[in-house]
Every structure is written in C-alpha cells, then in structure tokens.
C-alpha cells in the first residue's frame, strides 16, 4: 500500500499520483487529509483507498469504480456523479452527499447534510444517522436509505427512485408520498446493510414520487404565427392579436406559457451600428480571405489546451433532445468542415456527434443529465452552464413528446415526463462555490482542458468579474435574443438584456478591475452573419456563437413550435417520421456553406478596414445609427452615416420578399432570406457574396423612432446568475401574498390601522354594468383566488363558504365613490374619485377597519398625494386612464405611465415612500406587467380589459361584449385559470431576479431597452448606466 501525506503534497500532485497507483492496481492510504478538497476526484480505475481523517468537498467525485474509506467526515458533494464504486464515510457528510450519483454505493455512518442525493439517478446512498432537509431533492432514480430521521421535505420534487426511512419522516416534500416497502425492497435492504456490517433492526417506510408534478396538464392549444409588426414596432396596438391570444391560451390552461425560439420583439441590435469605413471598399477585393488571419484560440489561459478555431465562430450549445440526433450529427459535420467547434448542450454527449465534430465542448448543466467522467475526458473543453439568454433563471425544459426512451436513457432519467431541469446547480450557489466546482473539473481531467461558463446576460457587469476571479478560461455570453427549445414565454421576452448591452457590460466590468481582454468572451444571441460577428468583435468579443441562425441555415421555417416536438422540418423533434425528412449530409453542407459565407464576410470587413488580423477590429471602427445603440454602446451617434450608407450601397432587391412577415423581429423575412441565401452560396460566386454583403452593411430602419412613446414592454428584468442566487421558478416557493394597508418603520402595520390581505397582488375592475352571469363568474373567480374587486357596485355576494355558482363566495370590495355615490359600509375599502366635475370631496370611512383611499390621475395627482399622506389615507389608486369608473376605458388610449414614476419620485422626495400603498390601473395585460408595477413600487395592480378577455369577452366598437349564453361556471373557470397563470408569471419573474416574495422586486431589478422608456419610467438603459462606484 502506498502512503500519501497531504501535509507534504499538494492535492493536484496527489491526485496525479493516485491515478498512477490506480493504473497499477495499487492501494493508497492518505494521511493528514485535514478536510482538504477534491481528494480522489476523477478516478476511472478501480482503486482501493483509505483516508485517515476527514475529507473536504467532492471526495471521490466524477469517478468510476473507486473503493474509498474515509475515517471521519466529508464536506459537500461526496461521490459527486460517481458511476460505480463504493465510498464509506466513518463520520458525518456535509450537504449534497451523493449528488448526481449515477451508480455505486455510498455509506455515511454518521449524519448527512441537506439536499443529499440531489439529482441522483442510480446507485445507493445510505445514511446511518439522521438526514438534514430535502434529502432526495429532485432525484431521478436510485435508492436512498436513511436509518435515522428523514429531515424536512424528504423527496422534494423527486421524479423517480426510492427513499427508505427507518426513523421518523419529519415532513414530506412536494410531490412525494409514503408507501410500504415491497418484500424485494426489504430483501435488498437486508442484504445491503449486512454487506456493510450495519446493525439495524427497525422497519422502513418508503418515499416515492407521487407523480402529480411530472407532467403539465392539457397541452397548450396550437397557436397561429402572428407577424411581429402586430405586437412590436411603431404600429403595434396595446390590445393586439398576440395579447389577446396570450390571454385566451392562459384562460384555457391555467399556467404560464411555454414556447421555443427566442425573444420576438424588437431590440437594439448590431443592425443599429455601422462601420465608419467607406462601405464600397468592403468586399471589393475577392482575395480578402487569403490576406487576413481569422484563426482564433479560445481558452488556454490556465494551462489547458485552447480551442483552435479557423475563424472566431462557435456553434451555440443545443442539446440532443431539443434537436434531433440527425441535426446534432449535421452540426458536428458542419463544424468540422469549417474548422470550428460544436457544443453538446444539455443531456450528455451523443456519440455520433462526438465522432463527427473535430472539436466539441461538453456542457454541464444543473441536472447533470448524462454527465460523466468519460465524456469529460473525451471532450475538448468543459463548459459549466449557469444560465442562457433566452431564459436566464430557468433550467432546461424538454417536453415529454421529445423525451424519448433513448434520450432518457442517455440522460439517466425516467422517460415520459415533462422535464424541467433545476434552475441552479446543486453545488454552485455563488462565486465561492463556483471556483470549487471549476477546480473539481480541472482535477478530474488533470488540468488538461479549458473550462468555461455559459452565462445569460443580466447582471453581467458583476458576473463577469466573478468569472474572471474564479479562473475561468472563457465565457459564452448570451444576450436576451438567444434562442431555446422551450422556455416560459414571458422570460423569453422580458428577462435579460440585449446582446449589444451584454458585451458592453462585460467589457465594462473587466475594465473596472483593470482586466480588459483577460477573459475571452464568446458572444451569442441573435448573431446572424459575418458583419454582426465583426461588430461584436470590434466591441470586445473574442468570438461569436451561432444557434438559431444555424437552424435556419439547416431549413428551420421559424414556426416557433420548437417546444411541441412537432418541428415540420425534422430539426427540433424526435418524431421518427419528422426526423426522416432531415437529410444529414445535405444539411451539413448547407450549414457549412453558411459558415463559409460568414468567413468571407468577416474577412471582407477586416480587410476593408485595412487590417490583417481579425483581432485588430476595435471600437473606433464603429458608429451608432440610433440613440438607443449609441447610449448602450457609448459609440458616437452618427445618423448621417445612415444616409451615406443608403446612398452608396445599391439596393439589390434580391432579398426583399413580399410574403407575410415572420413572428420574430430579430429573424424577420429579410434576415431569413439572407441566411438561406448564404447557406446556398459558394465562395466562387463572388457577385452573390458581394450583393449579400452590401445588404448586410446597409442599415435597418430604427425600430424605436423618436415619436414612439416609452412602453412598459421596453422594460426588462435583470436575472440572478452568479452574483445572486436564482430561486427555482419550477419548484421553489415565491410568495405573492399582498397586504393593502399603510406601513411604518421597516414595513410594519401601524397599530389599529385597517388592512386587507389577498393572496395575489391583483385587483379587478370594469364589471359594474356587465350581464349578471358575467358578474357572478367574476365574483366566484375572485373569491376562489383571493383577489379584490374595484367598482361602484359590489359583485353579487352570497355569503361565506366555498365558492360555487349558487354561492359565489366573497372577495374584497373596494368601492369607487364618485361625487354622486354614497359610500357603503359593506365595502372593505372606499376609493374616492377625484375625476369629473364634482371636485375633491373629503374622504370619510364608515368603519374603523375600512380602508380609505383616493383615485388620482395626472391632473389631480400633485395635490392629492400630500393630501392623502396628511389625512393618513390607506391607499392611492393611480389611474392612468381617462377614469377608472368608465367601462373598458383602457381600450380608449395607451395608459399614462408617468403617474407611477412621478408618485415614486414624489414620495421619495417626501421620504414617505412605502408609507401609503400605490395601486396602478391602466394597460395591465399579464403577470410580467404586474411584476413591473411591483418593481416600480406598486403594491398591486388593477386588471380590467385583460380580465374581460379572459372571460371570453370580445373587443367590438371600443368596448367589450360578452357571449349572452356564457355560463357563469365556465367563465369563472376561465378567469381562475387566467389569474393563476398570471400570478405564476409574476412569481416566475421575481424568482428569476432572486426573490422569494414578489413584493421584494425593486426598480434596480430592471433596465430599459429604449431611451423613451428610460425617461418614462426612470429606469436606466441597459448597459448605459454610469458606474456605480469606483472599483
């Protein structure tokens, strides 16, 4: 037996020595381990080890076959991702013992910490003492044996596997249930315990998945593709077809919506920048390719072998699962033919792809699906996924229709579930853990490979510093326009910052700590061609990544149905009949040609600017053509360049088609036509290449013209990633509980103050004059969901008890009191309206526990707020319309957003912020809109037209009309569904920003993507903000 003294040898050396002994079948003894980390990581030979003392993090992690005995304790993550073997711990284990276990046996003779066996898939984890909370969190398979007490929430969100508890079950987790062990279970337990010499005579209970949370309910109705100008751009209307469809779908399903593709709205993007150089000089030299050097290395900083790219382009991570095996094979081929790098995406390494791709990044995601030491070793780089631009805060999603038996087997999970991967890693909960995970990876592969991060853009300025300090070799940074196979549609549109802002934040962040250029950034998210790539590199990116555009090059038609598994062209599907349509070789050639066109474009730009190396591109080569792009990038604003470009670049007309617009502003008709054209062009066809290049160099129209007012849609949220911990939107609680009352101190209810509590931050209005069945439906729905009603008349109210058709139950009623109205003692709150000619009337309450408030518009607002404070009123209703008492007034005009901004400004000035709750009315359509109001310091928002639409109302002649034959029961169910999904949306947004309560949303969680919105809401433009403080 060999002895290694860790007081004398570094762990890095020790692991190499251990691997050497393993290869020679020699046993090893470790002395003086003193709880050091990464002991015996990455072992793939059977080896017998004895650790005389305590081990630190990840003892025996990322291994296959070791037999390890630890005399005392282990810290976090013992046996992480082990495929086979055995680890026996004499003392206690820290958190996440046996995380992502894929086989073998782990025995803890003492107690074990929280979240043991998180995302484990196979093998056995046995704890002889007690377990801390959430044992078996999100486990997919395997067995856990706890001889002592289970701890709280045992089996939380488990999808498979079994947990046997010998002691007390302290509490069951979500979607877990208890049953009796079968005789064969008992036989297994007896044999297992005997084998490890564990004397236990008690009985067992068995915890398994109850199966209620594995699948979404009824599928979403198939939606039609709505051309993007309907909902984005200067001519979009507030209550457009897309908004209406969204409400209709949610009132049918009762849950947040899911779709694939990416953000569909307009964003400031690379088309809003231009090169300063004379455009006619770019691309005139057919030999540009041979005169410039595009070769790029990514990721050699910390001793690993860098990726060697023939040009600064990589393929974005896309999983086998999200796309078909044939598509993965074609991507591998295309990447090889063009000398660039492919990425596995989630779910493990597909052998065919490994064989085809010359360079392949292995991506490790939170669920550790398909992750293992052998694939790590046969990869060319390792990438730890933190988040992605399309859905920062959400883990991967794969609907059951795409989770075939083969893919489930590869991922190590049960087939047939709607897979929602965890939002965050078991063992990466911040920058401090991240470095330990990275070091574990490095130890596992002998520090041979580059290790990078995939990061969705949000708090990038801070996140990028952590990435640098934690010793990453590269970062794949993904803007809001990034695509995905499936994600919550509101997150796709409204969480994250645009790609243009992302690269600015990243370079700013590095500059703040004097580290510009020290961390290669691969920028992705809506990059489509060599001109975009050149602009990204000029702004500071080392390379770019291509995802959606690769799909388009391979024939994607942009139907945006990726999540359903019914991709008609065989790309984003696993249906054999659909996959059959996809011819691997011809599509690989298409993608290769597309990549070669990009190469030609890049070379033409580099050469045209007078450079010989792609890395010479820099900010001084660029100007901004729109105020947004100028403010985001801090490039000179040069509208005159737009005119020059339009004059000097001939419009070819080749790429202007007249069929209907696509559903995505980023990948519009013209963009798609150009990508198709690039994927068919050869380099020999110089004339076509030049015409395409001229088209790419010419500016797009400004999607945010001066006359377009700031809109709520122009606000986006900053997601949590490294600097903050995301709260898992699929699983973890986020309270929507709402109290309408005055507050004092640090948010406490003043003694004796009136207050109304609701489960949601939602109020409803507009049904005073509606047909009785509709009013009844609203009353039932609001009572069932604990929301409030704002109106001059109370809803029908049949007393207490469970809401039903005969007994609608009771919801809180906030009476709107107009000058001619009498206040009612029945109302929970009185809101006096300052509208109309009646003039201000002194608000009085009829009961001491009745809330007292005023409705104010921008006219009455400056006087009303100080008055409301002086009178100690309980609420202010900010009415952004012509009068909340007018039926469906939201249809008349866009709401006045200045009210909520000015209210916040004024209250802050008076140092009375939060003392009186603000409630916004006007233009509210979704849970995301509500989240924005909460972040702007609103306490609740009032829905009008949106609720009417959810009940089946139709907009006609400027008002809402209801089906006279509608049944109250059905309408109520529809409204309940819509309220539930809307509440989910609000909470999802809050969780993505790292909150466990929706009321903890802050203005600082948002950014604007238009200059007009930044002024209208006092929310800084993404990446345009000044530095917070000197670093």
């Amino acid at each position: 037996m060999a002895t290694i003294d860790l007081s004398k040898m570094s762990i890095r050396t020790a692991n190499e020595v251990i691997k050497g002994h393993g290869a020679n079948h020699r046993d090893v003894e470790i002395i003086n381990p003193d709880a050091k980390h990464y002991i015996a990581v990455g072992l793939s030979n059977p080896i017998r080890m004895r650790i005389r003392g305590s081990a630190g993090y990840f003892c025996g992690g990322l291994s296959d076959g070791p037999i390890i005995e630890v005399d005392k304790n282990v810290s976090w993550g013992v046996g992480d991702n082990m495929l086979a073997g055995s680890i026996v711990v004499g003392g206690n284990a820290g958190a996440i013992a046996g995380e992502a276990l894929r086989g073998g046996e782990i025995v803890i003779r003492g107690n074990m910490g929280s979240r043991a066996g998180q995302v484990m898939k196979k093998g056995t984890l046995c704890c002889c003492g007690h377990s801390s909370f959430m044992a078996g969190y999100m486990m997919y398979g395997g067995r856990m044996v706890i001889l002592g007490n289970s701890g709280q929430k045992v089996g939380e969100d488990m999808a498979g596997g079994e947990i046997f508890v010998g002691g007390r079950i302290d509490s069951l987790g979500h979607d877990a249930m208890v049953c009796d062990p079968a005789p064969e279970d008992l036989e297994f337990l007896r044999e297992f315990l005997d084998r490890y010499g564990i004397d236990f005579r008690g009985g067992f209970r068995k915890v398994v998945c109850a199966g209620k949370g594995l699948r979404y309910g009824a599928p979403e109705p198939r939606s039609v593709r709505i051309p993007f100008p309907v909902f984005s751009g200067p001519d979009a209307e507030a209550w457009n077809a897309r908004t209406r469809e969204d409400i209709r779908v949610k009132s049918a399903t009762g849950r947040y919506r899911i779709r694939g593709y990416g953000a569909a709205r307009h964003m400031p993007h690379f088309g809003d920048l231009a090169f300063k150089a004379d455009p006619t000089r770019i691309g005139h030299d057919a030999g540009a390719l041979s005169r410039v050097n595009l070769r790029t290395f990514v990721g050699g900083k910390h001793g690993g072998r860098a990726l060697d790219l023939s040009m600064p382009v990589l393929i974005a991570p896309m999983s086998y699962g999200a796309v078909s095996g044939r598509m993965k094979a074609a991507l591998g081929m295309a990447s090889r033919l063009s000398g660039i790098c492919e990425n596995t995406g989630e779910g493990g390494m597909y052998s065919v792809e490994r064989a085809e791709a010359q360079q392949l990044i292995a991506q490790c995601l939170s669920g550790r699906l398909g992750w293992n030491i052998h694939d790590m070793k046969r990869s060319d780089a390792i990438e730890l996924y933190i988040s992605q631009g399309a859905k920062p805060g959400l883990g991967g999603q794969l609907m059951a229709s795409k989770l075939t038996a083969e893919i489930a087997e590869m991922r190590g999970i049960p087939a047939g579930m709607d897979l929602r991967s965890p939002s965050r890693h078991p063992d990466v909960l911040g920058g401090d853990d991240l470095i330990m995970k990275i070091n574990e990876f490095r130890e596992a592969v002998g520090w041979r490979l580059p290790v990078g991060l995939k990061l969705g853009a949000g708090r990038t300025r801070d996140d990028i510093k952590i990435a640098l300090k934690d010793g990453l070799d590269f970062v794949e940074l993904d803007g809001l326009q990034g695509g995905t196979g499936a994600g919550a549609s509101e997150v796709l549109e409204y969480v994250g910052i645009p790609t243009l802002a992302a690269i600015m934040e990243a370079t700013d962040g590095l500059e703040e700590i004097d580290a510009r250029g020290q961390l290669p950034i691969v920028l992705m998210g809506g990059i489509q061609n060599g001109v975009d790539a050149a602009k990204a590199i000029a702004l500071g990116a080392t390379a770019v990544g291509l995802g959606t555009s690769m799909l388009i090059a391979a024939g994607c038609i942009g139907c945006m149905q990726c999540s359903t598994g019914r991709c008609p062209v065989g790309i984003a599907t696993q249906d054999p009949h659909l996959v059959e349509k996809f011819d691997v070789e011809s599509k690989a050639v298409r993608m290769h040609r597309y990549l070669e066109s990009i190469r030609w474009q890049l070379a033409a730009v580099v050469h045209g600017l007078g450079y010989s190396e792609v890395g010479q591109l820099n900010r001084d080569d660029l100007v901004a053509l729109t105020p947004e792009a100028a403010a985001m990038t801090r490039l000179p604003y040069a509208p005159e360049v737009r005119e020059q470009l339009l004059r000097s670049l001939p419009e070819s007309g080749d790429f202007h088609r007249t069929d209907s617009e696509t559903g995505s502003a980023g990948f519009n008709r013209k963009a798609r036509t150009l990508i198709h054209s690039m994927s068919r062009a050869t380099l020999e066809d110089g004339d076509l290449q030049r015409r395409m290049l001229a088209e790419l160099l010419s500016p797009r129209e400004n999607p945010f013209p001066d006359e377009r007012p700031g809109q709520l849609d122009d606000l986006v949220f900053l997601s949590a990633a490294l600097t903050r911990l995301v709260i898992d939107p699929y699983r973890e609680a986020c309270s929507t509980r709402t109290r309408i009352s005055r507050t004092e101190g640090i948010g406490r209810l003043p003694d004796g103050a009136a207050s109304v509590e609701m489960e949601q931050p939602f109020l409803f209005t507009g049904f005073d004059e509606s047909p009785e069945p509709v009013r009844k439906a609203v009353a039932m729905a609001l009572a069932a969901t604990s929301c409030g009603y704002v109106g001059r008349r109370a809803l029908p109210n049949a007393g207490n008890g469970h809401p039903s058709e005969g007994n609608p139950g009771r919801c809180s009623w906030f009476q709107l009191v107009l000058p001619e109205d009498e206040p009612s003692p029945e109302a929970d709150g009185l809101i006096y309206c300052f509208h109309g000619n009646g003039g201000p009337r002194r608000p009085v309450r009829l009961r001491s526990d009745q809330l007292l408030g005023v409705a104010v518009s921008s006219g009455s607002f400056p006087a009303a707020v100080p008055h409301a404070l002086a009178e100690k009123l309980d609420m202010i209703l900010l009415d952004g319309t012509r009068g909340i008492h007018r039926p469906w007034v939201e249809l008349d005009a866009p709401p006045d957003w200045t009210l909520i901004r000015d209210a916040l400004r004024l209250l802050r000035e008076l140092r009375r912020e939060e003392e009186i709750p603000l409630i916004h009315f006007g233009g509210m359509r979704s849970g995301t809109d509500a989240a924005k109001i909460l972040a702007l310091n609103g306490q609740a928002c009032v829905f009008g037209v949106a609720a009417g639409l959810a009940l089946g109302g139709a907009i006609k002649d400027g008002t809402l009309r209801f089906d006279p034959k509608g049944s109250p029961g059905e309408m109520s169910r529809a409204l309940v569904n819509w309220i539930q999904s809307t509440s989910q949306e609000t909470a999802i947004i809050a969780r993505c920003t790292g909150k466990t309560r929706v009321h903890n949303l802050e203005p600082e969680d948002m950014r604007s993507i238009s200059v007009a919105a930044s002024l209208a809401f006092d929310i800084p433009l993404a990446s345009g903000q000044n530095r917070r403080e000197a670093f």
Binding site: A35, K36, G56, S75, D462, K469, L722, R908, G994
Partner: protein, 306 residues
C-alpha cells in the same frame, strides 16, 4: 461570495488550542482562501475598557493620512471627547478616548468628516484589501489573544474592492456589534431605503453593511439581539449565513434555502465556526473533528460563560 470564521472561548480556559485567537481566525481564513481572495478583515474583542472608548477610522495614505487624523482629532474634541492615545495602523487610525456622551450621537458627528470603522469598549475591527496572512502581519493580528472574534475574506461581487467594503461591518452607532456575512441580500435597496427613512446611514453599497445596520436598527427599537436575528430571517431576502458578535457572544442566522455553508465545532473550551471544515481542521491538524452544521432558516447565539 466569501468565507466567514468565528471563535469564542467559553470560559477563559484554553488548554487545547496552541495558537492565539488572532492566529486561529487568520488560519481559518487562509484555509478557505479560494472562497474570497479580494480582501480580509477581523472583528477582535480586546480587553474591555471601563470608562473609555476604543475607536477606529479609515484614513488616507501618506500626508493625506496625517490631515485626516488631525481632522478626526478636532472633530472628536469638538464633540466633547478626550483623546487618550492613538496611532495610525495601515489605512486606519485607532484611538482611545474618554467620552461621557451618547455613542450614537458621536457616530453621527464623526460620520460627517470621516468613515468610522468601529467603536466600542472592546471591539476593534481591522480590515483591508489583501490576503489574510500578509494583512495579519501588517496589523499584528496574531498578537491578539482575546476571548472571541469573527473574521471574513471576500470575493467582491456587487460592490467594489476597498478597505471600507471589506468585512466585518460595525453596526454603526452601536457599541461592540459587528457582522460578517456570506451570501447576497436580494431586497437590498428596499431594505436600505426603509432603514434610511428611519435615519440609519450607510457608508457603502455592500449588503453586509445592510445586515449590520438592520441589526443596529432593530436593537435601537428595543429588540434583543436574538429577536433581531429571528426577524432578519424573515425580513432579508436572498441567501445568507452571517455571524454577529457582541461584547460577550457570537450569534448566527441562516437563510431558509441553506445555500451558504457554516460548519461548527465545539469542545469544552471553545466554539469555532468556519465556512468549511477545512478551516476548522487548520486549528487541529491531523485530527478528526466532531462537526455540525446549523439547519436552514435558523438563528442562534453562543455566549461566554465567564
């Protein structure tokens, strides 16, 4: 994004540990250095002064430092304090004063001209940019051998790398209360504005300062430290494991998600706390320790018996 450490000798006896209190804290930090290499700091509880106050302020380098010190001395004297002894150490000026007035009032007065690091009968906070072992030499930390202390190393995330954004943070205005924290408070701005409206002041945008100011505010409202720890678990959002030290105790609170580690070792004589067991093993090399980890969403207080 950090590591925290704490040690408390329960009854004045110390036969097992063959290092000074300052050395013990420094070694725990050094063992967990990978968690936060940007800056380091210690809250040391020195021999309590009966009628005098121990104050420390940030001052500039070189000549600026001399000017800052003169300004601090003038302001102290103007506030009615008697300067007994003081000297410059690194980027700080430590001074002992006689002062009969209200410490909170003195704090507010001093904040107008300088950045106080700590004030108390016993507390002395030392913090600076750099790594624990070299800073320990610079500030003679290892000579400190008092009854208890807490310490911190930081990986800067949302606020800058300066001495004043280093931890520990003093609960400004409240004698002898200091905190160190690992994690992020995600309702920082809401809570900060609430506390500011109550007249509390902030020197940095660091969320640990928020924890310190929060505890100070709650205690100023008459809450006990235990009450303040308990309500913090409810009022603060995000992830945290934090330690708070007073003249005779160390308390902790942990968020309900248990995302941030905190490992505790206790024997007859001492309680030691570290972010990782590897830190505790530095105190007792070659030994196997009985350790435990407090459950999520909990708080607690360890008091000295003597």
């Amino acid at each position: 994004m950090c590591a925290i450490a704490g040690i408390l000798f329960k009854n004045g006896k110390r036969r097992n540990l063959r290092m000074t209190t300052g050395k013990a804290l420094t070694e725990m930090l050094d063992a967990t250095l990978h968690r936060g290499p940007d800056s380091a700091g210690w809250a040391l509880y020195r021999e309590p002064l009966a009628d005098e106050w121990r104050l420390r302020f940030f001052v500039g380098e070189g000549e600026k430092g001399g000017e800052d010190i003169r300004l601090i001395q003038m302001q102290l004297e103007a506030a009615g304090a008697r300067i007994l002894r003081g000297h410059k150490e690194g980027c700080t000026y430590g001074v002992v004063i006689g002062y009969a007035g209200d410490l909170l009032a003195l704090t507010r007065t001093m904040e107008r001209v300088c950045k106080p690091v700590s004030m108390g009968r016993s507390l002395d906070i030392i913090k600076d940019v750099g790594q624990p072992r070299s800073l320990a030499d610079r500030y003679a930390i290892t000579e400190f051998d008092g009854t208890h202390g807490i310490a911190h190393i930081r990986l800067a995330t949302e606020s800058g790398v300066h001495p004043d954004t280093s931890h520990p943070f003093w609960a400004s205005g409240f004698a002898d209360v200091a905190t160190v924290h690992n994690g992020q408070i995600t309702n920082y701005w809401i809570m900060r504005r609430r506390l500011e409206r109550q007249g509390m002041t902030f020197q940095t945008e660091n969320d640990t300062e928020l924890v310190a100011v929060y505890l100070a505010y709650r205690m100023s409202e008459g809450a006990s430290l235990e009450d303040a720890l308990e309500s913090s678990v409810e009022d603060l959002d995000g992830t945290f494991s934090y330690l708070v030290a007073t003249r005779d105790s160390i308390g902790y609170a942990k968020d309900p998600l248990a995302a941030k580690p905190l490992v505790v070792y206790e024997n007859d004589e001492l309680i030691a706390v570290s972010s990782e067991e590897v830190g505790l093993n530095r105190l007792f090399p070659g030994q196997s320790l009985e350790t435990s980890e407090p459950p999520p969403g909990t708080f607690g207080l360890w008091k000295r018996n003597d």
